[in-house]
């Protein structure tokens, strides 16, 4: 059964250079992170499915897939030496991951899957900030780096399959989407945050506006910065949740972290 759902950004500056952010912004975000962590803990999930993106860690241009489900028994991370997150091993849930893959194939999606993956900040930072220890993890990676990325509608529909698998599961499962919001990491507009874009997107997530979320184009994301493609995971989350109402715990445009940082929770139907 699905017991908890949230979405959050994962900018590396959150842990790598936390004090670069203005104190008040950091305080508001830390309070929201702790609230998410407490609510996730209270949900007593046995497995956490993370809809996520990565940054040239597992995947390179030698083989590009749209989606990849992790079927490993364990993962390690983070790979980056500068995150100030201690390296560790995270247990997987290959059985649940396998059910996601099988359900997807039965319903017209053929995601990649892998029995060996490691985590960079895209997954390790959420696990760290949410104090996830001892909960099994199933990562689902979205290609957000290489053109063409999957469409918003396709991400939403893939999420719907994942949601059905989790609701039918006998174990208690939490679902988290991570990435975004507007940012242009390492590119010419690095440091530019489009707060208007972010707030509009958050409002659509809050009211579960499937039509709006499914209609985002690649050009829409690109205009909000290369990193905005990571919001495909958030759209997949709403697909999984069947357009559940959401609450925004925090939104801050943190210029020193070069990212619009959003944290949301959702009411499960």
């Amino acid at each position: 059964m699905l017991v908890y759902a949230a979405a959050m950004s994962h900018a590396p500056g959150i842990t790598a250079w936390p004090k670069a952010a203005p104190t008040e912004q950091r305080a508001r975000l830390d309070e929201a992170f702790e609230r998410l962590a407490a609510d996730l803990h209270a949900a007593a999930a046995e497995t956490l499915v993370v809809l996520t993106s990565e940054h040239w860690n597992n995947f390179f241009l030698d083989h590009v897939g749209a989606f990849c489900v992790g079927r490993a028994t364990a993962y390690s991370g983070p790979v980056e030496p500068f995150l100030q997150i201690e390296g560790r091993e995270v247990a997987g849930d290959p059985e649940l991951a396998g059910r996601i893959v099988t359900a997807a194939y039965e319903r017209g999606f053929e995601p990649s899957f892998s029995y060996e993956l490691s985590f960079d900040h895209g997954t390790m930072l959420p696990l760290h900030k949410l104090h996830v220890n001892g909960t099994r993890v199933v990562p689902v990676f979205f290609n957000t780096l290489v053109d063409p990325q999957p469409s918003a509608a396709r991400a939403y529909d893939f999420g719907a399959i994942i949601g059905d698998v989790l609701r039918a599961s006998g174990e208690r499962v939490a679902l988290i989407a991570t990435g975004g919001m507007s940012h242009d990491p390492g590119e010419l507009r690095h440091g530019t945050i489009d707060s208007a874009f972010d707030r509009r997107f958050i409002e659509q997530m809050e009211r579960g506006d499937a039509a709006a979320l499914r209609s985002y184009s690649r050009a829409d994301f690109a205009a909000a910065g290369a990193g905005a493609f990571e919001l495909l995971a958030w759209i997949a989350l709403q697909g999984a949740l069947r357009d559940a109402p959401g609450r925004t715990l925090a939104y801050e445009a943190v210029v020193p972290w070069a990212t619009g940082i959003g944290l949301m929770e959702f009411d499960l139907k």
């Binding site: 940054h55 040239w56 860690n57 960079d120 990491p185 390492g186 590119e187 010419l188």
Partner: protein, 84 residues
């Protein structure tokens, strides 16, 4: 598509502790293990960030590569924007 190999090499330095150690210990030897153009090889050995970006290295490969060289964010942005 030689920038493919250039990015593959920089990514290897970013993600592999052993490669990172070998790269910093003896850069010319490390770089000689990859088939690069003269321009690419020179840009890496000179740590010419502006050139590496112009050659097409993705920002999420180049920025981590510059972070492990202790390059500040303002310096990075000046470099890729050609303001350095």
């Amino acid at each position: 598509m030689s920038v493919y190999t250039l990015q593959k090499m920089l990514r290897e330095v970013n993600r592999s502790p052993g490669s990172r150690e070998r790269y910093f210990a003896e850069k010319e030897t490390f770089v000689s293990g990859y088939v690069l153009t003269d321009e690419e090889r020179s840009a890496v050995l000179a740590f010419d960030v502006q050139k590496l970006y112009a050659l097409g290295v993705h920002g999420l490969i180049l920025r981590p590569f510059t972070i492990i060289h202790k390059m500040s964010e303002p310096d990075y942005l000046r470099a890729i924007r050609g303001e350095a």
